[in-house]
Symmetry: C2
């Protein structure tokens, strides 16, 4: 009997009805002969409601206490899910992150998993029970305090736990049928991918595809864990995310899909003296302020002026911090001015087949041109091309690219079953 780890998101367990439906699914997997370990998120909007409560008390909650508060969410959903399974005549036991042995560092609110010691989970399975584990949470190695892993990190809990338990598969359930070639809300003819490699999925997650958390895919790749992304509202097969051993290429399409991201802003430092070390000072200042950069572009300096412009993109939420850090080094660096633009978006084309197929870039840019989309910045990896465009043109850019690569399905495949969230 193999171990199956299943993860259910908040929209799948939003109310008692949802919890009972999920319980039936879990019991069916158990009856099919598997040992089942379930990772569950907080019900519906519970986490946001708890954040609101904290905000009513203080604008700056201490991170340790915020983690203590938020972890109440999964505690509620996991206990209710265990009850629903018991009601169906099967044994179930719920475990907090701490009880499940999810050991993390002490970075409250964005803790990283250091180790998983799932002794209690293994005992529960051995005793014939279904184990229900709280996603998103752990316990710090040093202080034994409750930690959270950051928004959307229940996926990461599931894959890490699956790896620690030597599971056969980690199934990630949400309210969509799998991974699509583009966001079906923008491209109604988007096609469901039957399988995609972890490296492609990594690029898609990094480029704004919200179906899976980036760290979760990193874990899947590191531990060679097959992940099956599917809907808890249907019985359809979803998308398999398959780790590919190096050199052993999967038979696959050239392009996996088109991702987009509306969460970035662009900053341009205008008129930087083109001397050795000036750019370094700028990026040192940004690193010291803990700003995460994405794309970086430096114009060729105009020989006449000896000045150059440096542009980079970053999460919008880091915008103020970055502008402040740059303003403080203006005299030192001696640049001319700062430009801030958050009316931008990123469109990315991802596909492992790109490596062996030349001409992809030309076809991508021709598609964008035909839709009248202007490219502001470009960045590439071995299996990805990303462009920054005007935010108002994102939908056009995604659609044009999807069509240019003949990704459209002959009929609409995507169904969104639950709410808008996970």
């Amino acid at each position: 009997m193999g171990i199956v780890v299943q993860k259910y998101g908040g929209s799948s367990v939003a109310d008692a009805t949802g919890i009972k439906r999920v319980a039936q699914r879990i019991v069916a997997t158990r009856k099919a002969g598997n040992d089942v370990v379930v990772v569950v998120s907080a019900m519906g909007d519970t986490t946001d409601e708890l954040r609101d409560l904290a905000e009513q008390v203080t604008p700056l909650p201490p991170p340790r206490e915020l983690d203590m508060l938020l972890t109440a969410g999964e505690r509620i959903s996991m206990a209710l899910l265990a009850m629903a399974i018991a009601q169906l005549g099967h044994r179930a036991q719920s475990f907090t992150g701490s009880q499940a042995g999810v050991i993390t560092d002490s970075a409250h609110g964005r803790a990283k998993i250091i180790d998983i010691t799932p002794g209690r989970i293994e005992n529960a399975i051995r005793a014939g029970a279904i184990a229900i584990v709280a996603g998103f949470q752990g316990v710090s190695q040093d202080t034994k305090d409750v930690t959270t892993l950051g928004r959307g990190a229940s996926d990461t809990t599931a894959v890490a736990l699956a790896a620690a338990l030597g599971a056969e598969v980690c199934e990630i359930y949400s309210d969509v049928d799998g991974v699509f070639t583009a966001d079906p809300r923008i491209v109604p003819t988007a096609r469901k991918l039957h399988r995609v490699s972890t490296e492609e999925m990594l690029e898609m997650a990094a480029c704004g595809a919200k179906i899976l958390h980036l760290r979760c895919v990193e874990y899947a790749r590191r531990y060679d864990m097959p992940v099956h992304v599917r809907s808890s509202f249907s019985q359809k097969e979803g998308t398999w995310i398959i780790p590919t051993a190096e050199g052993e290429e999967m038979e696959q399409a050239i392009i996996a899909g088109v991702a987009h991201d509306r969460s970035e802003a662009k900053i341009t430092v205008v008129g930087v003296p083109d001397k050795v070390g000036e750019a370094a000072r700028i990026f040192e200042a940004l690193a010291a302020a803990e700003v995460n950069l994405d794309m970086v572009v430096q114009n060729v300096s105009a020989a006449a002026t000896g000045l150059t412009d440096i542009s980079f993109t970053l999460p919008r939420e880091d915008g103020q911090t970055a502008m402040g850090a740059l303003a403080r080094i203006r005299d030192e660096v001696g640049y001319d001015k700062l430009l801030y633009d958050d009316q931008i978006g990123k469109v990315s084309l991802v596909g492992a087949g790109m490596r062996s197929h030349p001409g992809i870039t030309a076809r991508f840019f021709a598609g964008l041109a035909s839709a009248g989309v202007n490219i502001e910045m470009i960045s590439t990896s071995e299996i990805r091309i990303s462009v920054i465009v005007d935010e108002a043109q994102i939908n056009d850019a995604v659609q044009a690219t999807h069509t240019a690569f003949e990704l459209d399905a002959s009929e609409v495949e995507a169904v969104v079953y639950g709410g808008t969230g996970r």
Copy 2:
């Protein structure tokens, strides 16, 4: 610097405003030079709402999972309270029952505290922080599972923790100003008691006074912990519950107060053969069914018939269980019939001074007679007299007794600040 343990009930922390008010009170105690440890209940009706959720999922939740669910309530309130204290510029750390070292047996839903090992609390105090502890919950010694101590048991957590920490006092905050000579909703002229002995308080709690949980008073007596019952909505001095060493009588009033209880029912077993062992069989059957009896009365047997009647009172919630257990032994015992009456109530007069003052019973019964109240059953202890009366006459009985012992205040003293609950 002494340690003060403060316990705040659900009505005191029902919303963000309440939590901030309580935080100010805690900080004021800290500023007065005390180390402060706070025990907190779940916000307002949270526990009931969580029970409702469980009921939507299953009529019979597994007790382990119900405890896991319910403990989310204090997790939320304690984290918010720690945040509110931090917002006032003081350090605070919240701790679950498990983290606070509240070790219990494994009886989920009604676990008993076996030991308290408050190492983390002591460390937090030593580091200058205010410790916030979840009431009502602990961790089982054998299985390391989360347990709850039963309804209203946050008071017990507070007193037990105060004893373990060697605190100077345990302050129990609710929405009333203290312990009154009768329920002010029935007797508007009830007087606040300034001090009452633990043994009197024990009798009052056992007789239905809801101000303090019975087990909490037992702990206070066992560990000689002074308890100060007061309101979180006012600055008034409340009621001190003082442990009295044996033989060292406090100067005190003859009567502490009049308690009443509407939660009992009466069962009469009619026509029991008056032979050795028949009564024993009845009470063995009830004990096997885990029915908690209160008063028991056996009529003198009528010599002519050789039959006797046995009446007893019990919690109404045990009524069906008891009737079932008795029905099953009918042939064996050979009684005539069973009568069930849940239209009864208990009125109790409590006072340590009773011991040295004869005539109390006569005055009590005369008071009841003057109000036209018929006595159905009587039971006494050294410092208490209880009678069972018709439920419809409880208010009359309490008022008449209160007046008969000249307990009425010259003006209304009782103010209820919050909701109806604790």
